[in-house]
Amino acid sequence: MARKDLLDIASLHREEIEFLLDQSTSFKKLFTHSVKKIPALEGKSVLMLFYEASTRTHSSFEVAAKRLSAEVTNFDVAHSSITKGESVRETIETLQAMRTDYIVVRHSHPGLPGMIARQTTASVINAGDGAHEHPTQALLDAFTIREKFPDPRGIKVLIIGDILHSRVARSTSTLLQKLGVEVAYLGPGSLVPKYVPESIRRFTDYEAAMAWAPDVVYLLRVQLERQDVQFFPSVREYHRVYGITNTRLAEIRDRGLYIMHPGPVNRGVELCDAVMDYERCLITNQVENGISIRMAVLDWLTPGGEFPKQESYVARQRTGSALLIP
């Protein structure tokens, strides 16, 4: 079960997911101790390579690495040669020469962490690559849900918002389905693509989605910076049609539903202020669980060994392929 990298949820096996969630439970118990540090990664180096702004994920990884006694280096993208036009590939060659053990990478280009993983012996952890995947977010979401539903099979999670641009929606929905959770998407037609997997219910109407009877409502952050391309007319209209308004919160409270959000929240857009004080709002739990999950991931991965090869479709088909044998 040893893995060098954590690049996506799609390739994780259920057993690996269960293992990480169980490990996370153990690590979380440490938080109640007066000494929160263990020597698991003593002498190891973790490099934070964030090409995009991040508060939660970055600090969460940093805290996790330090609690495992690793040495953490922040690669300062703003002051690096990248601003002089150095390509990512050249950066990786530099980092490989530094023999770092772990690279935590965030970038706006989907697939880029995988490209890095193939060029370095370090364990690469994808901390978000464009709209592709955000595996540790998915793991902490699952962990948070499992704390409330120890056997999550059959529960229903409704993910609301900008599915089109959301790596969180992709990773979290994939992982929850692997655990037997039913997933549905709700959002404007312009932000919930027709091409979502058939296993995910697709709603564009709030009432219809609530009639599906979800147990958890997972709100995605509306990326206001994308509003130069109008995916919906205004944030006010978004809040009215898809947001958790005061009226809707009352209904959610009556039904005892949990609310989750990967943060940072836009108050008055995806949710009203009162949601933050709702007793079944799990947003703070998600942040806290992010540390133990990331400790579990860092502890689990095994740096070194061969550079993995890109497994192209053709390579996979090379034996007995319909493509190659007419």
Binding site: P110, Q310, Y313
Partner: protein, 428 residues
């Protein structure tokens, strides 16, 4: 003097291969017949079991010179063509500087004379520097033999500009080749909008972005009385749109399809494999099937590779950063044989018609055939041998192709052009 014995002769007019001897004297086919006497001094090649085809002609290649010689030069590009059994090409004008004036076209044609062993023709831009704003100096380019006008790589986005260009250039007997894409819909990423674009988390380009411009440009051509040639069609509805316009018969429209759009789907991209990143993007199996049906039915007049070389460094970047396009000249003929001719999906007659005869007719060039009195312009193809597309085998300066290191059935053994043997495999 060369005598090919027992070659199986292919032609565009019949699926039947005629087994015959072919005698070539001083660059001309002097005699064809059974058991021809061996003239004194003639070199004899046993062509038994091999197919003799007219040389192929690719009406859509990017030779990158001037400006991007690190990717390809006229020399390496034309050698790749010869390696693949292709004896004539049309270069696209998206070089740096772009081929938008008599000066730049003359430079390229002059260079091609010295640096290529096959005829290299070039297209010219519709607009200056392919910017879609001001008309390029069209008549000056016509004076140098340019027939095809295109802003390939991009659509001529302003329909008024394109209509005026069509009205102007049609008077000179030129035609327009259209790269069809609504940029506002397509976005910058060469990936079909669909299941794969969702899975990979990349904004996809919907097929309608291509289909809208296919229809628009044919309508503009009809309004101007122009001939429009639709390039590298990738979608089923795009093909159906062309079929419908052709059935009306009131506009001159021709179209091409690239081998990769017949063979691959967006699923081949797998884990962000940039060797499958191209524009128009690979679409679905339904599109592939429809394009093949369109090719067999004659909706597509020609096959063209859109040979688009890029350096290994460029293609080794992540999918978003990597440039669009794959090479095709080294691989096209063998891949057409392996995937279509060998399994019986279509015959050699279609290959000859769509990849040799029609592209030359499009360019108003003489069409070679294996017939007495014709200039020797032919390819001997071994259907039983195999070709492994290693980096060493390929003559293109770049090897960004899905076929890298793959072995396909078929081999180009001999390429003859006039009095020259351009290529002769050791195995011959």
């Amino acid at each position: 003097m060369l005598l090919l014995q027992n070659a199986r002769i292919a032609s565009e007019n019949s699926p039947v291969l005629l087994e015959s001897d072919v005698l070539i004297v001083e660059g001309k086919i002097q005699d064809i017949g059974s058991k021809l006497p061996i003239p004194e001094g003639a070199r004899v090649i046993d062509a038994r079991g091999r197919v003799l085809l007219p040389g192929m002609f690719d009406a859509h290649v990017h030779f990158r010179a001037p400006g991007f010689e690190n990717k390809e030069t006229i020399t390496t590009g034309s050698e790749a063509a010869i390696n693949g059994g292709i004896t004539g090409v049309v270069m696209m004008p998206n070089t740096r500087p772009a081929l938008d004036s008599a000066t730049t076209v003359a430079t390229v044609l002059e260079n091609a004379k010295d640096r290529s062993r096959i005829p290299v023709y070039t297209s010219g831009c519709v607009t200056k520097n392919r910017e879609g704003k001001e008309l390029a100096e069209i008549e000056g380019m016509r004076g140098l033999g340019v027939k095809m006008l295109t802003d390939d790589g991009d659509t001529t986005n302003d329909p008024a500009v394109l209509l005026r260009a069509m009205q102007y250039a049609t008077e000179f007997g030129m035609f327009f080749a259209s790269h069809c894409e609504v940029p506002e819909l397509a976005g910058p990423r060469a990936l079909n909008e669909g299941v794969m674009s969702y899975r990979l988390g990349i904004k996809g380009s919907p097929a309608c972005a291509e289909e809208i411009i296919i229809d628009r440009d044919i309508r503009l051509a009809r309004a101007a009385g122009a001939h429009v040639h639709i390039q590298h069609v990738s979608s089923k509805l795009g093909m159906e749109t062309i079929r419908w316009w052709k059935s009306r018969g009131d506009v001159k429209v021709t179209a091409e399809v690239a081998p990769h759009h017949l063979l691959f789907t967006d699923e081949h991209i797998g884990d962000y494999d940039t060797n499958y990143k191209m524009n128009p993007p690979l679409r679905t199996q339904a599109d592939c099937d429809a394009l093949l049906e369109g090719l067999i039915a004659g909706v597509f007049d020609l096959i063209a590779t859109d040979h688009a070389p890029h350096t290994p460094f460029e293609k080794a970047q992540d999918f978003i950063s990597a440039p669009n396009g794959i090479t095709g000249l080294d691989t096209a003929l063998v891949s057409l044989h392996h995937f279509f001719v060998a399994p019986g999906k279509f015959g050699w007659d279609l290959v000859v018609k769509r990849y040799s005869a029609e592209p030359r007719r499009l360019m108003s060039l003489p069409v070679p055939s294996i017939a007495v009195g014709q200039s020797a312009d032919c390819v001997l193809f071994d259907t039983e041998a195999e070709t492994t597309f290693t980096r060493e085998f390929m003559k293109s300066k770049s090897q960004n192709t899905p076929f890298i290191d793959q072995t396909l059935k078929g081999r180009v053994d001999l390429v003859i052009l006039g009095t020259e043997i351009l290529l002769e495999r050791e195995e011959l």
